[in-house]
Amino acid sequence: MLEIKNLHVKLQEEDKMILRGVDLTIGAGEVHAIMGPNGSGKSTLSYVLAGRDGYEVTEGSALLEGKELLAMEPEERAAAGLFLAFQYPVEIPGVGNMTFLRTAVNAQRKARGEEELSAGDFLKLVREKAKTLKIDAEMLKRPVNVGFSGGEKKRNEILQMAMLEPRMCILDETDSGLDVDAMKLVAEGVNALRSAGRSFLVITHYQRLLDHIRPDVVHIMAAGRIIKTGGPELALEVEANGYADILGEVG
């Protein structure tokens, strides 16, 4: 599904290397987690994959189902099946959540040469998906993320994911700022979307999210590289001993 090879990235403005050779391969239907200390480059990786300005790829590649992501505009990456759930979902005053969702869904369908959803079909679909995430009609009417609580913002991200039906989902610290109940709700939303044709990359500081979204593979990232890869037990090890042991061991 996703194949990242020797990815080197620097911050454009500061001429500072953030990623120093990331290699990562995620198979179809797999759930991978990336853990790592602050500043290890986890969020940068997600932004670079999604196509945010301000980063320069100096080396390497990232293929989504064989297609080079790094050459595409952000909207093309989305149409190709990539989705990034933001750590800090953006508030957009003046743009209704519903308008936003419909524009996004139809833009992607159009880009893929599919027919656009009618207003009626769209409404039916969004209501159905919103219900399972406990998103009420009022939230759909409000401007995008404006006045939403932390939990509402994250649920709104998952709603977008459910509507857009991406093949490769990246969750950037989706657990940050959530209480236990909110986290469970979000995790249930994600788990409902797990399927053989859809892969996930879950970026998190903490093991607790991984209790709810069980990963197949866990990677530890530090100083812009993936330094260790293992099964779910690796996350438990981090939880118990912190990153210091692993960092020391890899040296």
């Binding site: 945010r52 505009e73 990034l84 957009i92 003046g94 743009v95 524009t103």
Partner: protein, 431 residues
Amino acid sequence: MALPKAKEDALAARLAGFPGLSGKGWLATARAEASARLTATGLPARRDEYWRYTDPASLNAPETPVAHRFDASDEAVPFDGLDRVKIVFVDGVFDPVASDDLVVAGVSIERLAEAGAKDIHWAQGMYGALEARGQSPVARPFAALNTAHATDGVLIHVTGKAAKPISLVYVHESEVSDAILHHCVKLDPGAELTLLENGPAAARFNKVIEIDIAEDARFHHIRLQGRDHERRAVTHIFARLGARSEMRSFTLTANGRLTRNEAVIELVGDEGRAHVAGAAVGDGEFHHDDTVFVTHAGKACESRQVFKKVLMNGATGVFQGKILVKPGAQKTDGYQISQSLLLDEDSQFLAKPELEIYADDVKCSHGSTSGAIDDTALFYLQSRGVPRRTAQGLLVLAFLAEAIDEIADEAIAEDIRARLERWLARHGSRR
């Protein structure tokens, strides 16, 4: 005080082409008085404080600068679906064939020239009166010129609830037309009227509307200034509001080399409400100036000024807005916001918001901002698959929303949103 020689000469040159003012009757008297006001002030010059941000040279020029007609047939005709009474002016001249019969229940409509021939008329004492009041504390020479030399116009007397909107349609034909129109609207107590205006009017257009809104009357005004790239316009709205009356005015401006829209609004009675709003979008050679002066004289009145501009490829926006709260105008609620969205570094926005308050129990706020598109929001939308242009369009419309929300009629607001959306799809910063 005598005018400086340069101003005297400029005025003489500008007026050289006009027929002299003569004749008798109330209209001739009003014109002569306006002419005297104009002679006292002269035409504006860049050095005048009120014209610091907008160069009036092309409005003063004796010869009309050429403005080619613009083919706007790629868009539906504005207000086409509305049941309205159309009054058409071609290059500033009333066109009886293209116009509807000037008959609406609750309203009487007359051409200025016909009314002027009558000995006694309701517009006597109104024509030029609000314009004259509006000359202080700031001179508005183009308005005085208009009153003195208007070539046409309509006088609208609303006695009840107008059965239909009145729609003034301004057609631009000649590349060098220089049109001066003066309209008066008088609303009796409790009367209601929606006035629509659209079209570029002329190569150079000078228009004044005087609106006298009696107590409990309601006046709604929606104006679309046409899309001719090269036209120039200077317009004035002078309005006086009685107790508990309401005025809502919205203007959409897309394109136009030079536009100066002045609104001079006086809340005279208690508990009146005046909202004046504008959305302007400009690409390239576009200079748009909103100059607004709202006076609160009555108690517990509310006023709102909401002006938004989207500028790209070297376009310029200007806002000069003032709220004057007179002594005794307690419980005034005044609000003013002027904002611009600059889509590149070649464009500029110049703003001069002012408050002058002589009462102690008032609520007045004003704000002015100028900024670029929010990159984070743009990326967020793109990351969901929305193409960059569409995403920009969504954000620009969101920026304009507060002004468009001032339109009372939701169908018209929706139509204007759609027009803006299409305009934005056709235009973009070259940077």
